[in-house]
C-alpha cells in the first residue's frame, strides 16, 4: 500500500482526490459561512451579505452551508482521525512551535503526515464546528424554542460567535500558512502531489512510512 503513494518524478501523493474534495467542500462552505456570518456579526460587514444575494438569502443559506461544513468536517474526521492523533512528539513540537514560526526546523522533532499545528487546527475546526452546529441549530429555529427554554437561545447567541471567532483564528493561520508560508502546500491540496523533497522537509516520518523503508509509525 505504501508504494502506491509514490509517484513518478520524485513526486508523492499527499492527498487523494476524495481528501481534496472534502477539504474544499469544507473550505468553500467555511468561506461562505465566514462571509455571511461576518455580515450578521457586524453591520460594517453587512455588505458581504448584500453581495451574496441579500440578508434574507444569506440567513436562509447560512445554516445549509453549515450543514455542508459539518458533513465535510465529519468526513475529514473519518479520513484523518488516525493521522490527527496527538502524540508525544506533537507535544514536544508544540513546546518549540516558535522555532517553527521562525522557520528553524532543525530545532523541531520530526513530523509525520501532519504537524502538531495542523493537528490542533484540525481539532479546533472539528470541535469548533461541533459547537457551531449545536448553537447553530438553536439559532436556525428560534421560533421552535419555547420561552421556557429561552436560555438555550441566549446561550447559543454567545457560543456561536465565540466558536466562530476561534475557528476564524485558526482559519487565518491556516490560509496564511497554506498559501503564503508553506510553499507547495496550496498546490498539494489542489493537485494532491508534493515533491519528495517537500515531504522530506515537512513530513519526514510520513515520507519514510509511505516509501516503505522507514520505521513503522508508532
Amino acid at each position: 500500500m505504501a508504494g502506491e503513494q509514490t509517484l513518478a518524478g520524485h513526486r508523492v501523493l499527499r492527498y487523494t482526490l476524495t481528501e481534496r474534495m472534502v477539504h474544499w467542500a469544507a473550505g468553500f462552505s467555511y468561506i461562505y459561512l465566514l462571509m455571511t456570518g461576518l455580515a450578521f456579526w457586524t453591520p460594517w460587514m453587512f455588505w458581504m451579505a448584500v453581495v451574496l444575494g441579500g440578508g434574507s438569502v444569506s440567513r436562509m443559506l447560512h445554516p445549509w452551508a453549515g450543514l455542508i461544513y459539518t458533513w465535510s468536517v465529519w468526513r475529514m474526521y473519518v479520513l484523518w482521525n488516525q493521522d490527527m492523533r496527538i502524540t508525544e512528539g506533537d507535544r514536544k513540537w508544540m513546546q518549540v512551535v516558535g522555532a517553527y514560526a521562525r522557520h528553524e526546523h532543525d530545532k523541531l522533532p520530526p513530523v509525520d503526515r501532519f504537524n502538531a499545528g495542523q493537528k490542533y487546527l484540525f481539532w479546533l475546526m472539528f470541535w469548533g464546528g461541533f459547537a457551531l452546529l449545536l448553537s447553530g441549530v438553536v439559532l436556525w429555529f428560534p421560533e421552535y424554542i419555547p420561552g421556557s427554554l429561552g436560555f438555550l437561545r441566549s446561550l447559543a447567541i454567545i457560543v456561536h460567535p465565540v466558536a466562530a471567532l476561534l475557528t476564524i483564528g485558526g482559519f487565518i493561520i491556516h490560509v496564511y500558512m497554506g498559501t503564503a508560508v508553506v510553499r507547495g502546500g496550496f498546490s498539494s491540496v489542489i493537485r494532491g502531489e508534493v515533491s519528495e523533497n517537500w515531504a522530506r522537509v515537512h513530513h519526514p516520518l510520513w515520507l519514510a512510512r509511505i516509501s516503505g523503508n522507514a520505521p513503522a509509525k508508532k
Binding site: L155, W198, V201
Partner: protein, 292 residues
C-alpha cells in the same frame, strides 16, 4: 408600517447615526389590570386594524384565546386563577410588545434597519429589512417577537404607529370598553397609574404597584398590578433585562472579536514580512533535509 425617518431615534445594526431630528414626548399605553374584564375587544381590534388573518385555535381549558401571541395575533389577554388565603382572584393582563426604552430586540438585531425606535418610543419592526434570523426573539425579555414560518419574518405589536402618527390612539385602546386601556404621554399615564395604585392600596391591595421595569429602561406600556410584588402572576418577568449574552455579544465581544480578527490578519502579514515563506526546493534555508 414605515414611519417618518425624521422620527427615527434608533435603527438596528446601523453604521451611521439615526436620522431622527424631532423631539416628541414618549408615548405609552396604560394597562390597568385591575379594571380589565378580559373581553378581548383589544385582541380583535388589533387584528382588524392591522388586517391580520384569524387564527385557528382550540379550547385548552381556559378563557385565554391561545397559549401565546403569534405572528398574526399580537395582542393576547393572559388569564390566571390566583387563590390567596384571603380570597380568589382572576387576573387578566393584556400582553403585547412592551416598547422598551432600551429594546432588547433592537439591540440584538443584526439586520440594518429591521428594527427601529421612534422618537416617541415606539419600537417597530420593518419587515422589508428583516432577514429572519430571530435574534430579536432572543433579545426580548418578554418573549414577544413571533416568527412567521411562511414569510420568514418576525412580527409584533406596532403600537399602531400608523394611527399614532396621525394623532389617533392605538386600535386596542380605541376598542377597550372599560378604559382599562388608555393612551397618552408616558408622564400622563404614570400620573393616572399612580392615582389608581393609591386607590388600590386604600382598597386593600397593599402591594399594588406600577410595572415599568428599569432593567429595560422602562417600557412604553405602563401596567398597573394589584399584586405588584408578584408580576409573575400576570406572566411578567420580575426583573426583565436584555440577556447578558446579547449584551456581551453586542458590545465587548464584538470589539474583542473584531480586534482579534484584525490582529490576526495584521499579525500574519507582519510575520510574512519578517520571516517570509518556507521554501523547500530553494537555497535550503528552511533547514536540513530529513533533519526534521
Amino acid at each position: 408600517m414605515a414611519g417618518n425617518t425624521l422620527d427615527l431615534k434608533r435603527v438596528s445594526a446601523s453604521t451611521t447615526p439615526p436620522p431622527g431630528v424631532r423631539t416628541t414626548p414618549t408615548v405609552s399605553k396604560l394597562i390597568d389590570t385591575s379594571t380589565c374584564i378580559g373581553c378581548k375587544a383589544c385582541e380583535v381590534a388589533c387584528q382588524e386594524w392591522n388586517d391580520l388573518p384569524p387564527e385557528t385555535t382550540v379550547q385548552l381549558g381556559t378563557y385565554q384565546t391561545m397559549p401565546d401571541t403569534s405572528p398574526n395575533f399580537w395582542n393576547l389577554i393572559r388569564f390566571n386563577e390566583h387563590q390567596t388565603d384571603t380570597g380568589f382572584h382572576w387576573l387578566m393582563r393584556k400582553d403585547q410588545c412592551m416598547h422598551c426604552a432600551d429594546p432588547g430586540c433592537l439591540e440584538a438585531c443584526p439586520a440594518p434597519g429591521a428594527i427601529v425606535q421612534y422618537e416617541n418610543g415606539i419600537v417597530d419592526f420593518q419587515q422589508e429589512n428583516c432577514i429572519g434570523c430571530g435574534y430579536c426573539i432572543t433579545g426580548c425579555p418578554f418573549d414577544i417577537p413571533k416568527f412567521n414560518t411562511k414569510t420568514k419574518k418576525v412580527y409584533k405589536c406596532t403600537l399602531c404607529t400608523d394611527r399614532v402618527a396621525v394623532g389617533l390612539e392605538p386600535a386596542c385602546i380605541k376598542a377597550c370598553p372599560t378604559s382599562c386601556l388608555q393612551f397618552g404621554t408616558k408622564d400622563a399615564m404614570l400620573g393616572i397609574a399612580k392615582k389608581r395604585v393609591d386607590q388600590l392600596k386604600a382598597n386593600g391591595f397593599d402591594k399594588a404597584a406600577i410595572y415599568d421595569p428599569e432593567g429595560v429602561g422602562g417600557t412604553g406600556v405602563v401596567t398597573i398590578l394589584s399584586f405588584g410584588d408578584q408580576p409573575e402572576l400576570y406572566g411578567l418577568p420580575r426583573n426583565p433585562t436584555i440577556p447578558l449574552t446579547v449584551r456581551l455579544w453586542k458590545s465587548p465581544l464584538k470589539w474583542l472579536g473584531n480586534l482579534a480578527i484584525v490582529g490576526g490578519i495584521v499579525g500574519t502579514f507582519v510575520h510574512y514580512l519578517k520571516y517570509g515563506p518556507k521554501e523547500v526546493d530553494g537555497a535550503g534555508h528552511s533547514g536540513k533535509e530529513g533533519g526534521a
